[in-house]
């Protein structure tokens, strides 16, 4: 139990640090793929420090509250995950956190952030089913929703759930806000709705959103780790490969429109996940 708490607190402390470094490496690799030198690895940290010193401009104070909710529930979801708790609770807290950000975007009276919020909701609709499928997949393969028990299983989940793994990788693109799914808000404001969801946040609020995004990234990569949990080295390698592929995809694709985002995730990804689930269900002969 103490170990669980330690892991949870380690997440709370280290996730932003690792997330920031990961973002820095991401920016560097992206730059090199584009033929540029790229910023220093610590650039995301410099950006964050600068944002914290900037004035927070917002027409309504409720925006700040929602952003705080976004952070707190994200931290809760990640804590629960690394604590080894229930995967379903992790997913629900995670969804709640995203909803808080959407509410924050709606709180400002800006057409850009409103359209961004609408697109974010659509993207959540595209992503949530797969997250639930993932939880169900882990349950069928291991007989438990608890992360602790899943990771203790001697057989890697990847063996049973390759379809769900692929579907989840698809969703990761949406959650990381990378092309082709950077339509609600992208990492740079070159979009027809400026910066969409986060247009109306500035200063400290924007800094909090940025930190939350780092928490989010680390937690999502944690789920990928779970697929190969019995072999830690291989699992870390797997996570790295997934992340590198995400960067590559970001650099080889245009931003798609919401219709395409919905269609592709509900057909390709959901189908992949659902078929995988059904096959495993009968293969294992309703084990639990």
């Amino acid at each position: 139990m103490t170990r669980n708490f330690l892991a949870g607190f380690a997440y709370l402390l280290l996730a932003p640090v690792i997330g920031a470094l990961l973002a820095g490496v991401d920016r560097r690799i992206t730059a090199r793929m584009q033929g540029r030198r790229g910023p220093p690895i610590l650039q995301p940290v410099y950006d964050l420090l600068k944002l914290m010193h900037k004035e927070s401009i917002g027409a309504r104070r409720t925006g700040h509250f929602f952003v705080l909710g976004h952070l707190v529930f994200m931290m809760a979801a990640g804590f629960e995950f690394f604590f080894g708790g229930d995967l379903l609770i992790v997913i629900f807290a995670f969804a709640l956190s995203s909803i808080f950000l959407v509410l924050g975007a709606y709180a400002a009276h800006s057409p850009f952030s409103h359209i961004g919020a609408e697109r974010e909701l659509l993207q959540m609709m595209a992503a949530e089913p797969i997250l639930l499928l993932t939880a169900m997949g882990f349950y069928i393969a291991n007989g438990s929703f608890r992360v602790e028990e899943i990771s203790a299983s001697p057989v890697p989940a990847l063996l049973w759930l390759p379809g769900i793994f692929a579907a989840l990788a698809f969703i990761l693109t949406i959650k990381l806000r990378k092309s082709p799914f950077d339509l609600a808000t992208s990492h740079h404001a070159h979009q027809e709705i400026v910066k969409g969801l986060t247009t109306e946040f500035s200063g400290l609020s924007l800094a909090i959103i940025e930190v939350t995004h780092w928490y989010e990234t680390i937690m999502l990569l944690g789920i990928f780790y779970l697929f190969l949990a019995p072999y830690p080295a291989a699992a870390v390698l797997l996570v790295a490969v997934v992340y590198l592929l995400e960067i590559l995809l970001d650099n080889t694709s245009a931003r798609m429109k919401w219709q395409w985002a919905m269609k592709s995730s509900w057909t390709t990804a959901s189908l992949l996940g659902a078929i995988n689930l059904i096959v495993v269900y009968y293969w294992l002969g309703v084990q639990p």
Binding site: T30, M33, Q34, G35, R36, P111, F112, H114, I115, E118, S179, P180, D182, L183, S186, H188, A189, H190, Q191, E192, I193, V194, D250, N251, T252, S253, A254, R255, M256, K257, W258, W260
Partner: protein, 359 residues
């Protein structure tokens, strides 16, 4: 049926680095109405002709636009030369053509990058601009400037380029052309690019013609036209085949420009090999008296320079009708009923340069 929202687009907008403002009335993401406003940067450059010596005005003409600057300066000179009945030396003609094609290549590459950025393809954007940098280097090596060439002069060109430099530049351009072919394939074949361009911003052949579209916008709608065919400068000695696409959508306009870059690269190499020896400048005498409409092909399309002289050192009227100005009515037509996500992209497919449209 969603609620109607008005989304302001411009005059300062990250996707569109041009000061045009469009009020987009949207239902969900569907644009019901697009109401444009212009005139944020009317500088009255045409009026300046009454204060400036007609030789000095070349510098002003070059500054009508920051991207297609050279052809503005050269078009002005060509109009004045016709009024004054000056025959410029052949080498000057060839050098002008050389710089014209460099302008076209660099303008189209810049545009391709902006388009890629408009549909969220950052890598493609950076790669286009990387190749453009080679073209800019050639421009800097031959003229001394990167976007403002400062090489046009009434009676010829302001600086000669020795043949060794021309040859060296041709080699650089050849390597840029090879790299560009790789990028062109991405624009031509990539699934996500085609998803974003095909069938978007339709402009039928008839609409393009009656609304007065010019340049790649017109050629992308299947009209075979190119002012270079008239054979100004050294174009009468070069073989120009206008690039025409018939799909009438954004993809067609994009492909027209892509093929034109290749064409320009080929022309640049041909010109570098064929430029004749001789003087590059003939001193004009007297003052212009008379009027002339010069027509040239800018990267963005046909451009008109009207010059009216009254026998003094100041012209009584200089007018430039830039291609963007002619392409605004077709743009309004294309924007009706499009998707919000496509607005920036459609505006870009006419390659807008609002600053030169308003002068």
């Amino acid at each position: 049926m969603g609620e109607r929202t008005v989304i302001p687009f411009g005059p300062q907008h990250p996707v569109l680095p041009e000061p045009i403002h469009i009020d987009l009335v949207v239902e969900d993401e569907h644009v019901v109405e697009a109401i444009p406003s212009f005139g944020f940067i009317h500088r009255g450059l045409e009026k300046l002709v009454e204060k400036k010596d007609f030789h000095e005005f070349t510098y002003v003409a070059e500054r009508v636009c920051g991207i297609c600057s050279y052809i503005h300066g050269m078009g002005y000179c060509q109009a004045v030369e016709t009024v004054m009945n000056i025959q410029i030396p052949p080498r000057a003609k060839w050098l002008r053509t050389f710089w014209c094609e460099l302008s076209r290549a660099h303008s189209h590459l810049l545009w391709a990058g902006l388009l890629a950025d408009a549909f969220g393809f950052e890598n493609l954007f950076m790669q286009c601009w990387r190749i453009r940098e080679t073209v800019l280097d050639v421009i800097e090596e031959t003229t001394g400037g990167r976007v403002i060439f400062g090489s046009a002069k009434i009676g010829g060109v302001r600086r000669d380029v020795d043949n060794d430099t021309l040859k060296r530049c041709a080699v650089k351009i050849a390597s840029a052309a090879a790299e560009f072919e790789e990028l062109k394939k991405v624009f031509r074949d990539d699934y996500s690019v085609k998803q974003r361009l095909c069938g978007i911003g339709m402009l039928s052949r008839d609409d393009a013609w009656t609304l007065g579209a010019v340049g790649p916008t017109l050629r992308g709608s299947g009209v075979r036209t190119d002012t270079r065919l008239e054979g100004y400068a050294a174009y009468n000695e070069l073989k120009i085949e206008p690039i025409v696409e018939t799909a009438c959508d954004s993809y067609a306009r994009c492909m027209v420009r892509m093929h034109e870059v290749t064409q320009s690269f080929d022309l640049i190499q041909e010109i570098a090999a064929r430029t004749p020896e001789g003087p590059v400048f003939e001193k004009p005498s007297g003052y212009p008296n008379g009027e002339y409409f010069a027509r040239l092909e800018q990267p963005r399309g046909e451009v008109i320079y009207y010059v009216k002289g009254n026998g003094t050192k100041n012209l009584s009227r200089f007018r430039v009708r830039t291609p963007t100005f002619a392409n605004i009515p077709p743009l309004l037509h294309m924007l009706q009923g499009c998707e919000l996500a496509d607005v920036g992209l459609i505006v870009l497919t006419i390659d807008p340069c609002i600053s030169c449209a308003e002068r």
